[in-house]
Symmetry: C2
Subunit: 412 residues, 2 copies
């Protein structure tokens, strides 16, 4: 593949070389490090030690104890285990069936909640303001006697807005309601200590912070009750299946690197992101920045370009060697406007023109500057095809509906 610019780190990240290097002995069978960690013999003991070492590293990143970490295959599995597992356990114990989540969760959470709502549970979807923030007061108001779970994401994957998880967690704790956060977009990027976040469950995915694809984890606070999705002896009866040893080792190393580099890397990436943002704002008219201006993960900026289809922009940028996304990779191929942008009040036509740029560890200033040269050309090209844009620049329209009209003011 020819050298391209990858600005889609929120979809997935390239694994760090140190991660791959650490995984290799557990893939290359010549080392003998291929045993089943559940086996009693030396082959099994060696891989068991590697799995437990990785568990400690992940626990260190989250500030919890190692036995509160359950390895899974991905963020979606972690999310689903937390949500279905808590729901089914609560139902068995006749605790009620009301779940609170937000309108801007990742599809896997929303689809899971939708499934549960068709199977005897009731779900409240909290609104967000125009910056994408869930308001703790709304959480308070939504809580009922039969509320069994609150699940609110730590940061949104499309617009990057960081939710007030610590505050929501405090409310959940006061009411003794289990609280889960999908931290797939924050772990390894900003601090995610479970005691600061006041969470009982937290989902993470290795490939979102320079680990391999195919492995994730669920933090489960001691005493949290849930039904496993797959039943078996592994992971202390919390998740059946032979452990993905190499993947888990990779996740452990990614966690270890994140502990060391998160702060400096975050600052550097945010500076690059801000440079990109300023450049776009300075060079292209009729655009809107989606998401909170300050409370945002360092990686992410999301713009709506009026009179442009986001999908077309993504395709043309790809031709020019720049990989970006309209929003969640998981939802690509669907034609609906992003549920996140709709929830923050972006007008449908403006939401259709949204593009997410997400930067990361390997991003450079040169790449930002290259992209800043390419985008205006590509946006111009697309707009030149739009009769509406022609009308606008010719002054033939008396009123272009400003997208801002559709956006509710942020509450804070």
């Amino acid at each position: 593949m020819k050298q391209k610019i990858y600005f889609d780190y929120n979809s997935t990240t390239p694994a760090r070389p140190e991660v791959v290097q650490a995984m290799m002995p557990y893939l290359d069978s010549a080392t003998g490090l291929f045993g089943n960690p559940s086996s009693v013999h030396t082959f099994g003991q060696a891989t068991r030690a590697a799995v437990e070492d990785a568990r400690k590293k992940v626990a260190a990143l989250l500030g919890c104890s190692a036995d509160e970490i359950v390895f899974t295959s991905c963020g979606s599995e972690s999310d689903t285990t937390a949500i279905k597992g808590t729901a089914f356990s609560a139902r068995e114990r006749k605790k009620g069936g009301h779940i609170i989540t937000s309108a801007i969760e990742h599809d896997t959470v929303l689809f899971c909640c939708d499934y549960l709502s068709k199977n005897g549970f009731e779900v409240t979807y909290l609104p967000v303001d125009s910056a994408g923030l869930v308001h703790p007061d709304d959480v308070k108001k939504a809580i009922r006697q039969d509320t069994i779970l609150i699940s609110v994401m730590h940061a949104n994957n499309e617009i990057g807005t960081i939710e007030p998880i610590g505050e929501i967690g405090k409310i959940a704790r006061e009411r003794e309601i289990p609280f889960h956060t999908d931290a797939v977009q924050t772990v390894g990027k900003i601090p995610t200590k479970v005691n600061d976040l006041n969470v009982d469950m937290l989902s993470l995915s290795a490939h979102k912070f320079y680990g391999p694809k195919g492995v994730g984890a669920l933090y489960l606070r001691k005493g949290t009750r849930l039904h496993p999705l797959f039943h078996g002896h592994h992971e202390k009866n919390r998740r059946a299946g032979t452990e993905n040893v190499a993947g888990i080792v990779g996740l452990g190393v990614a966690a270890e690197i994140a502990m060391k580099e998160m702060e400096s890397d975050g600052k550097r990436v945010a500076a690059l992101r801000d440079r990109l943002e300023r450049g776009i704002i300075g060079s292209i008219p009729s655009i809107h920045l989606n998401g909170h201006p300050a409370l945002r993960v360092p990686s992410t900026t999301n713009f709506s370009f009026e009179y442009v289809e986001g999908e077309g922009l993504v395709v043309l940028l790809d031709v020019e060697g720049v990989a970006v996304s309209t929003g969640s990779a998981c939802a690509s191929g669907t034609t609906q406007a992003s549920h996140v942008l709709r929830a923050i009040g972006v007008a449908p036509n403006v939401a259709q023109g949204a593009v997410r740029f997400s930067l990361g560890h390997f991003s450079t200033e040169q790449e930002v500057d290259d992209v800043l040269k390419i985008i205006p050309q590509v946006v111009d090209r697309l707009r030149s095809l739009s009769p509406l844009w022609a009308d606008k620049i010719a002054g033939r329209v008396t009123e272009i509906t400003p997208a801002e009209r559709f956006i509710k003011p942020a509450k804070k």
Copy 2:
């Protein structure tokens, strides 16, 4: 790790070098092959192509079409998706709640059925004969109006007995009952064409046939209805989560190699296994071969050594450099005698002395001969610690209960 003899291929296999080599470009991010397969851009298209190529290879091994393959993270996930997914879908459609399975399934299936039986479903556990065979007539008798699923494993992981899946499948089809088989121990080792097996669902796991850990697949015959475990767009709405690209590529290559080498490798491994078996029978008294003498996967032999604890034998053999297992790795650490050996009627004291030897692609005649020198010494050492054995060889007991007394005769 010093050179050891690995005779525990049923627990897990070392990945073939060709498999690891094929995975590498998808782990090493310098290649650019790290995109999220759901992404629209070139990075995503490249990994999407790799995933779809692997899907074709797995489909070829099973004789199905590629879109009938759903990638999962392991055999346990495949099994659980098939069983819970079918059960919950049937319940939603008010089709009934009766499930038929066998008494010797893998723990993940039994635990899943146990879970369902506590949640409104009813499960019939079919008995097996002394060789471990499920009898199709027993399946027929167990079927009820409200039977919604039959799940019988293709070959047993502990004793290797191959079940008459094709016949059971025919019965299931006549009654229009979805039929699932856990083929984790057979895929890649013996033919597993889904149309010969008459199955609607089939579980496989890459690491059981020289692929990587952390990836599996579920064959889902077109038209089979089930609820996904994790909800999302991926895998045609059948399994959410960013694909484990490198793992899936590895699974594809393992399937491709199996297509080519299964027959010759199977013969070679069976010959080695038979050599080991003959050697053990010829050199050690008071032992029992567990499982069917002929209808067995090539890899597996399982012996009960009287007056010996299997766990002790495993540990001492490990000290001598030989890795074997008492049975399922997944159940190690539990103190109960194997549910499989109990189901085939092995007396508890004899079941406790069971050891599984499982051979594979990298096993050699030299290894077999080395093991044949070591085992008698180790068994002798352990027996010399047993007062019961001392009584027996001194003729001080009037009757040693022969284990055979507890074993029901095989029906065929």
